[in-house]
Each structure stands twice: as C-alpha cells, then as structure tokens.
Amino acid sequence: MLTAVVSGFVLALLAPWLYRIARGAAGWLLSLLPAALFVYFAAFIPQIASGRTAAASLPWVPALGVNLSFYLDGLSLAFALLITGIGALIIIYAGGYLAGDAHLGRLYAFLLMFMASMLGLVLADNLITLFIFWELTGVSSYLLIGFDHQRDEARAAALQALLVTGLGGLAMLAGFVMLGIAGGSLDLTTLLGRGDAVKSHTLYPAILVLVLLGAFTKSAQFPFHFWLPGAMEAPAPVSAYLHSATMVKAGIYLLARLAPIMGGAELWQYSVTVAGAVTMLVGAAIALAQTDLKRILAFSTVSALGTLTMLIGIGTTPAIIAAMTLLLAHSFYKGALFLASGSLDHETGTREVNELGGLLRAMPVTGAATIAAALSMAGIPPLLGFISKELLYESLLHAPIIEEVLTVAGVLAGVAMAALAGVVAIKPFFGEKTETPKSAHEAPASMLLGPALLATLGLAAGLLPNALGASLVAAAAGAALGAPIEVKLSLWHGFNFVLLLSAATLAAGSAAYLMRRKIYRLGESMQRVSQWGPSRWYRSTLDGVLSIADMQTRVLQSGYMRFYLLIVIAATLGPAGYIFWSRVRPAMPQAPMDLRFYEWLVAAVILGAAIATVKSTSRLTAVATLGVVGFGIALIYILYGAPDLAKTQFAIETLTVVLFVLVLYRLPRFTKYSEKPARMRDLAVALGVGGMMTTLVLAVTAIPRESRLAGYFAEHSVATAKGRNIVNVILVDFRGLDTLGEITVLSVAAIGVFALLRLRSSQQKSDPPGDAQ
C-alpha cells in the first residue's frame, strides 16, 4: 500500500521527462500506473467484502506522533478504486485533449501528484497524515486550476480555491489535534472505538465545527460552494477528475470516515443534514439557470455533493447505503459528462448549449456516452442513477429528523437533475444542427475511451446491481456505519410510493426542460440577487483584510523615525514600568551626595552639553555637543581611576562623531521644527525614561551586595596574571575576549568610515528614499 501511494509521486517527478521522450504515447504509458494500481486495489475486493481489512505502516515522524500508517477498509477501497480507475482514463484523455501543448508533461506531473495525494488521503489511518495529503490535493488543485496561467481568470480561480479550501483545511487541522486530545489518539482505527468519549468531551462542539469547516470547504458545501464553479477554469480532464469525481468528494469521505466517531449526536445530525440539503437545493437551482455546459455540470456537482452530505448527516443504514450508491453513480455519470463536454468544446469550439445542436451524427460515440450518462443522472431505469435515486427517496422518507422537508427538497433536486440531464444530452445532440466555431467531428480515441467506459459502467452497474451491491457498497457503507451490513440492490422495488415519486420527478423534470427558456430568463433576473451571494463575501472579505492591512501598515510603518522611537520607548516604559511601580517600592537616596567641585563641574558639562544637543538647530552642532557628553563621561572614568576605559571611550566617541557627521551630511537639512506640543511630549518621554532608569539604579544599589568578582581579581591580578593594574588585567586577560570583540568593532568602524568617505555612489537611485512607499 505504501508503494501504491509513493509510486504516484515518483512517476509525477518523471512525467515531464517521459513526455519529452514519448510525446503522443506518453498519456497511454503513464496511465499504466493508475491502471495497475486499480487492478491492485480491485484484488482486495474479496478480502474486504468478507469483512477483513488491510493495513501497512512505516514510521515517519514518530517524534511528533505522525506515521505513514495506511488502512484499507470498504470505504477507502471504494475511493481508491474511483481514484485509480478514473485516474487512468483521465490521463489518457488529457493526452488527446491537450495534444501538442508544450506543457502537457507538467500537467501529467500535477495529475499524478494529485492522484497519489488523493490515494494517501483516503488510505491514511493517522489524522495528521490524512491532513498532509489533504493539503497536497489542495496544492495540486491550485497548480492544475492555474495550469493555463496566462489568463487572469485562471490565476484568480486557482487562488480562490486555494484560500477557501486552505482556510478550511487549517481549521480542520486544529480540529484534528483537538480530536486527538479528546480521544487520546490520532489514529483513526483507535479513535473508532472511542466515539462516546469524544462525543461527551467538552471540546466536542469545537472539534465538530472545525472539522466540518474543513469538510464543507473541500466539498463545496453552501456557503463555500462558490470556488467550485470558479475552478472550471481548469482544463476539462482536470475538472472531471478533481472537481467532480474525486477531490471534492474528500470532504464526503471525511464525513463518512468520522461518522462512527463523531456522528449520531444531534449537533452533528442537524448541521450536516441541513448544510447538505441547502447545498443540494442551491446547487440545483443555480445549475438550472446556466447555459455553459461546464458551469451546468459544476453546479449540478455542487448539488450532488450536497445530497451526499445530507445523507451522511441523516446517518441511518438506508441513508448511508444510498450515499455510497450515489457516490459511485455520480462519479460514473458526472465523470463521463465532464469528459464528453470537454470533447464537445474541443471539437466544436464552444460550450454554450444554445450554440450546440444535432451533433449526434458528427459525434456518435461522444453522443451515446453523454446520453447514457444523462439517463443515469436523470434517474431513469435501468441505470445505476435510478437505483441510487430510489434509495435516496426511501431514506429521506424515513429520516429521523425533518423527514417531510428533506423529502420535498430531495424531489425538487431530482426534478432539477432530470431537467439538466435533458439540457446536457438532448440539446447538443438532437434537433437542428447548428453552426459551431469549429466544424464538428468525432474526438480521437483517447478522448472517447473515458466517457464511453464510464457511461457503460453506469449502465452495467444498473443492470447487474448486485455485482456491485454485494461487495463494494456494502463494504463502504459498513465502514461508514461502523458495523458490517448486508446490502441487496435491485432495479425493481415494486409499486410503491418511492416509485411514484420517481415517476413524478421525471415528469416534472421533462416539463422543466421544455420550459427552460423561461427558467433562463428567471435566472437572469435572479442574477442581481446572486451578486450578493457568497462569492461576493469572499471578495469583500479579501478586500476588507487588505484594506485593514493597508491602514495598519500606513499607521505603524509611517516612515517617521521619531514616531518609531516614540513607540519603542513607550513599549520599554510600559511593561517594565508597570511591574516596577506595582511590585517594587523604590527607595529614595538617603545620604546627601558629597561630591567634589570638579566632579560637579564634569556633571555640569555633561548636562549642559546634553541640553545643548537637544536645543541645537543644526545636526552638526548636535553631533558635536553629543561628542562633548561622551568626552565628559570619559572624564568621569578618569576621575574614578579607569584611564584605559577613558581611552577607549575617547576613541569610540571620536569615530562615532565622524561616522555620524558623514551619514548626517547626506541627509536633507532640518526643514521643519517640531511644534511645541510635540516637544513637550518628547520632554515627558525623556523624563519618563530618565526617571525610571534613575529609580531603578537607586533600587538596585539599595540592595547591600558586594561584587563577587572584585576580590578574586585583586587576589589573582599580580599572583597569576602578573599585572599590577587590575583594570588592565581585566581588559586584556580576565576578560580579554571582550576586548578582542571591541577591537573588532573599532576596526570595522574604521572600514566603514573609509568606505563612506571613498565609495561614493556613482549612480544615485531615482526611487524615493525613506521607507513608506
């Protein structure tokens, strides 16, 4: 199983290179891997159907409790077969659809990377491993939607899908970690037995909301559905594969997977069922108003995803069986329809249904596949779609909550599906032949295989339902229910209420198809309302965040240094001052200071120079007087017996003054003097800092404590270090490394002065200086 996942990634890396060698045959060659994987997984059917599971594990990051542990049960097997089977067809199809495209190799690589990620997602036993593959499907989806990256719309749609599903994914990650905390494990197999512990945990509501956010964004549930139609910017095979058959069902997979652990609680039941039902209706309604084939299919996919979510929310055994049957039926018919619509677009140059008509003669195979798939979509016997619809109605009628509402909603959506099936199958292929941008002819074999095979599958599975029902559906539904079940599917359930509903659905659907022009007009008038829909929320949220970002950056990063300094000083004074004043009672100096007159003199010089610095109106004077302050401090060192220190101070002061003069020389002159209030504010800040430092020093010196180092230095200076000047010995021996560092600082400063003097910029940049743009 490990190899099954990893091989896709490896082949993805090789794909561009393989394409360069094999060119036109590359698609057929590359599809061998998914086909082989399909066979590999199909071989598991008997084992899984008999109730056993398979597992494989490889330590990955045990330090963080994340391992490559995979687990195959009915649910993951059903998905794995869809992913690999449809994957093989898609890769072959892509070879025909994008024949001659210079970047086809890249497309293959992304498709294979997606396939491997999706396989990892449905096989993962560890929640974090699942998340990792989940994110990778999102990344491959981003790259695939943006495949045609020259177009603005493709880039915008790629970003939209990435952000919406990415945000949901991150919420889901937090939910997973909390689920791990609540259930005591990150492994699904372990968590399966701890459902009650999870549901009674105080974190449960939060976990539910976070995980649902992930599932709903990925599976395009209302109000996050808007990214999916946008994703139709991708080439047809991508839309068919990611945005209809597999990736968008990852959320459904997750819900089914977690249902035995988290399901059953009222909160789960209501939120999942209602979100699904609303999505089902909204998707169906919007789909009816579309005339672009791909958008029709996209919105009807949204509707189908809603139906699946709703069924999992209902959670009864019939509902889960219905969900799993619909999952298969939908993947077959929608995959076929997407591919066929891609062929139509490819061969005629348009996807607008009103521009297509009477093409059956020109494109017989594509037409036949489309019709068969559409019959399944409409729910007409003997196709699999019919069985799944019967099961759907049956489970809605017996839903434990709001069954009347759900049944009505289900039937309405069914009507819409029937009408839409007419739009995608009858309109393009029957009636009067219309002029299309390109003169239509049948697509190449590579583009026929997929639609034909998928449509045939829908028919075969309908005719022989128990070939499927006995094995796959039962196994998948059993996994989602947490207990093995028996399933018998049949086309004929006798004359009952459900059959009546089906018949009514078809009748209403046909009527709706015939009245479609009215619906389009209604749709146009509804457009003004839908402008205020969720895709608008996305835009305005993004714009809102950006304008807040712009505002705060303008305020914070203003470009004014005095403002920067003010904030930094305030941040220094704030917390430190708060703790100091609230926790320490600063001691006031007790003894009057006995200073000699020349000490007073030095102090006065320093103070005077400091005031002069502040008062001066020229930068140069300020630098000079600041130098005086430094020299004054050096004098204090001399007075207190530290001539070496004083020497260093003199040297540093001199260099600093020179450096500053050079830098300041380049700056514009003072042009504007600060206003009086500003100066008062600065005075207050300065006094605040000075006051705090002074009281801090007084508070520290009030603690009676001798240096623990002085005695050692005095003792060892002569004896061990052979030096009579203790300060000297400290500088060059006890703490010689400090001096090495300071010497380095001095020499670097010297290089800096030299470079500033000699290395004048020859090309003065014309862009505005400073930091605010």
Binding site: P59, W60, V61, A63, L64, I132, V139, Y142, H149, Q150, L162, L163, G166, L170, A174, A549, L556, Q557, G559, M561, Y564, L565, V568, I569, A571, T572, A576, I579, F580, V584, V663, R666, L667, L696, V697, I703, S707, L709, F713, H716, F734, R735, L737, G741, T744, V745, V748, I751, G752, A755, L756, R758, L759, S761, S762, K765, D767, P769, G770, D771
Partner: protein, 510 residues
C-alpha cells in the same frame, strides 16, 4: 578535537578569514577564494561542534582558563550548536552567492571581511555564556551589519541604515543598562552563575523589571511588535545577498537571546513575562503578515514576513512547554533557510528582469522553470504546506498551543498561515505565472557583472547553487523530519532543564 578548540573555532575561523582578506585588500580574486574557504571552514567547524554536543552533552570552556564566574565562559548546548550550524550554513550560502552578485566597488571596500566579522559576531552571541560578552558580540554584529548596509553609499541605503542603527543603538543602551542593574543584584556577569544567584534573590519585582528590560532589548533585535520598524525600513536597501544574510541570522540572534534568558536566568515568577511574550508573539505574526499583504516590492514583502515569522518563534517561548520550545527551535532553523532562499531568488529575478516591482515583473515561469520550482518550494514551506519543513514547525507549535488550551494564539497562528499563503502565491502569480515580457528569455548574459571577469555561466551557477542547497534542506527537513525534530526536542529538553547548563559551566555548583 579538544573541546577548547571546538568552541572557539566558530569565532576564530571568521576572524582569521577576515584578517587574511584585509591583508589581501587589493587582490579581489584572492579575497573571493578566502571568503569561500572561510565559510566552508566555519560550516565544518560548526558541524563538528554540533556532533560533539549531540554525543557528549553540554560543553563549556573557560576562556584563558580563568574559572567561572571570573573569566568569560563559552558554552554550547544543543540549541546554540544548532544555531551555530545555521550560521555556518547561511554564511556558506551567502558567501558563494556574493561571489556571483556583489559588484566590484563593494568588493573593493571590504565587503567580504565585513561579512565574516558579522558571522563571527553571530557565532559569539550563540556561544557565549556571559552577559556582557553577549553585549560585545551584539555590538560586533551591529557595526558589521551597519557598515554592510551602508556600503555603496546609495541614498536609500543611508536612510534605511540610519533607522536601523538608531533603533539598534537604543536596544544596546537598554541592554547595557539592564546588564548593569543585573550585576548590581547578583554581582556576576556569568549567565549560569547569575541564574544560581537569582534563585536565592528575594526581589522578584525588581528582577522581573530587569528581565523586561532585557526582553525589550532583544525584542528590538528580533523585530517583534511593536519594536520592528527598523526592519522593513532598511532590509530592502542593501544588495540582496546582504539582506539574505541579515534575514537568516540577525533577528534570530534576538530570539535566541530571549529564549536563553527566559529559560536559564529569569525563571522565577515568569508568568507575566511569558504571557506578555505570547501576546507579543500574536501581534507580531498578525501585524507582520498584514504589512506583507499590501506590499508590491519583492524584498519589502519578504521583509515584512520576517517580522511575521518571528512571532511563531516567540510563540513557542511563550507557551513554554517541551513541544512548544522544540517547535520554536525547528521553526527558527526552517524560517532562516526558507526566507534566505527566497531573498536569493529575488536577487536572481532582479538579474533577469532588472526590477523588484511585482507589478512590472511577470512571465518567468516559461523561461525559468527551475527557478520557479525553487521559489515555490521555499514559499510553500514558509506558508506551512506539508510535508515541507515549515509544516512540522507550525504543527508542533499549534499542537503545543492546543494542548495548553491557548486558543487565541493558535487561531492567530493558523490565520496568519493562510495570509502567508496569500502573499506567497501573490509573488508566485505576479512574478512567475502572470504573462510578462515573454521576449526577454532567460538569457545567461543577464548574469554578467560589469567589471567582473567571471563568465556569465559561472556567475549563474554561483547564484543558483546556494538556492538549490537551501531548498534541498527545506525538503529534507520536511520529508525526513524525524531525526531533525528529535534534535529539536532534545534541545528543548536541555533548555527546560537548566541544571545541566549550570553544572556544565560551574561544575557541580558553588
């Protein structure tokens, strides 16, 4: 190799390299060779040190054999050893890149010696066990970075450098004042000794005040909210190699010092400081990423992201659990590597198209698919996309946050991730995806540097090789994260068990 040598080589090698290059002032070709040899040597020494610490535990050396706490002690625990390896790595990447991208005038005025002095200061800061000595290394870093930033004398450079140096001098002043105050209480400058003395001290309020002063000083160096202004104001002005080095190392030293002081010295009554750290972490993430979201200049956008990412590193410190600190250590390493790689990519883009303006750039995907892939990997890692290095770091932090029930900071961390993804894909879409001047194919001749004799092909290789190296590390730290994360966990355990450090320095206690 003797421990004494192992601990001092990370300073001696850059110092000797710089000195040798100063003696070859006029022979630029020789300087370039010494430069690469020196940074290779530094990386080798760093790895040797790391391996020894990994097998033998914390190492300490008393400089000049003066026993602690009277002389200066050099200490290497796993955290500092990892950071020294990071320094060696950044040094090597940037010094190779520089040989292909730095203009002759800067080379002639001591660019390479300055680069190595900077590396020396950074290594010193990571290895010293002495508060005042740390200050000295901070100064060495500051002056070297200041001169590197002004070298070239362009107007924008000088303006940015003034803001840079002013803020950092304020930081130095606060550091020095705090050092004096701490010395007044504990009567020692040795970190381990100070830690022990503080255990016995009974002025918790005063000590917390001093701790906060240190944190402000480190906070300015680390560019946290609301002390980060100098960074976006200056980082986009020097040559991109310099920015890449700064981005990889300077702010990280600030975070390192904060972690060291809060785990070793100021551990008493730290609820307030840790809570404050967490709040600051959240605001740093958010303000930084919002700043980045509105930028349209490649390097400025990345600069704001440096700020944002520092928030994640602090988050682990604020949470103060083993997993959280391990996450911080992993994050620091990852973010330095990924962010520097992105800066280096921006330099190549500039060579190809002559601008950093995202609005003017475009269409680089077709002519430069390799560069595009290199960019995307580091960008996704920064945004925390699995299975790259950044994901594991963020996952550890998020998990630690949820385990400590700190939901606010976790929400901030996740929200900022999506905005990071937004601004990374913005660069991607604008520079690589958007149709641009397609006629301007990737032309090796754009790599030619006027006045430099090397052929364009060789220059291109010198610029791309470091990016490839850093990107490979991002992938390895992601796909094969386990052994590396285990190191981060051990480093975190050492940080939380400060007795080990104190014993290594003072030998059984005094």
């Amino acid at each position: 190799m003797p421990i004494r040598l192992l601990l001092t080589l990370p300073i001696l090698i850059p110092l000797a390299t710089a000195a040798a290059m100063l003696m070859a002032w006029r022979v630029r070709r020789l300087q370039r060779a010494i430069n690469v040899a020196g940074s290779t040597g530094l990386l080798a020494a760093a790895v040797a040190l790391f391996l020894r610490v990994h097998s033998d535990g914390i190492l300490a050396v008393q400089m000049g054999d003066w026993p602690a706490p009277f002389g200066i002690t050099f200490v290497a625990d796993l955290f500092s050893a990892v950071m020294v390896v990071l320094t060696g790595l950044m040094g090597l990447a940037v010094s190779v890149y520089s040989t292909g991208s730095i203009d002759v005038r800067r080379e002639a005025f001591g660019y390479y010696p300055l680069l190595h002095i900077l590396l020396m200061g950074v290594c010193g800061a990571f290895l010293t066990g002495d508060v005042f000595n740390l200050f000295v290394w901070f100064e060495a870093m500051l002056i070297a970075s200041f001169v590197l930033m002004t070298l070239g004398g362009e107007r924008a450079q000088l303006e940015g450098a003034v803001k840079y140096v002013t803020m950092n001098l304020f930081s130095s002043a606060i550091f020095l004042a705090a050092t004096g105050l701490l010395y007044g209480i504990v009567g020692t400058l040795n970190m381990a000794d100070a830690a022990q003395q503080l255990d016995a001290a009974d002025n918790p309020g005063l000590i917390t005040t001093i701790a906060l002063l240190f944190l402000v000083s480190f906070g300015i160096k680390a560019a946290v909210f609301p002390l980060f202004f100098w960074l976006p104001a200056s980082y986009h002005t020097p040559p991109v190699a310099v920015t890449a080095l700064f981005s990889g190392l300077l702010t990280k030293v600030g975070v390192y010092a904060g972690v060291r002081f809060l785990t070793l010295i100021f551990v008493q009554e730290s609820e307030f400081t840790l809570k404050l750290t967490l709040v600051v972490a959240g605001f740093t993430m958010v303000t930084g990423v919002l700043g980045a979201a509105v930028q349209t200049e490649f390097r400025r956008l990345l600069s704001f992201h440096i700020v944002s990412q520092i928030g994640y590193a602090l988050m682990g410190l604020g949470l103060f659990t083993p997993l959280a600190l391990a996450g911080s250590v992993y994050f620091l390493f990852h973010v330095s590597v990924a962010k520097s790689a992105l800066f280096l990519v921006s330099g190549v883009v500039y060579k190809l198209r002559g601008t950093y303006d995202l609005k003017k750039l475009g269409g680089l995907m077709q002519p430069a698919p390799g560069l595009s892939a290199l960019f995307l990997i580091s960008a996704f890692s920064l945004a925390g996309i699995p299975p790259l290095a950044g994901f594991w770091a963020k996952f550890a932090l998020v998990r630690a946050g949820l385990e400590s029930a700190q939901y606010g900071i976790v929400a901030a961390a996740l929200g900022v991730s999506i905005l990071t993804l937004f601004s990374m894909t913005k660069i991607w879409a604008e520079v690589f995806w958007k149709p641009g001047d397609e006629s301007a194919q990737e032309d090796v001749s754009s790599f030619a540097v006027p006045g430099v004799e090397a052929r364009p092909h060789s220059i291109r290789r010198r610029m791309l090789a470091p990016i490839v190296l850093l990107t490979a590390i991002t992938i390895i730290l992601g796909v094969a994260a386990d052994p590396f994360f285990a190191i981060a966990q051990r480093a975190a355990d050492q940080l939380l068990d400060r007795g080990q450090y104190i014993r290594a320095v003072l030998g059984g206690g005094m």
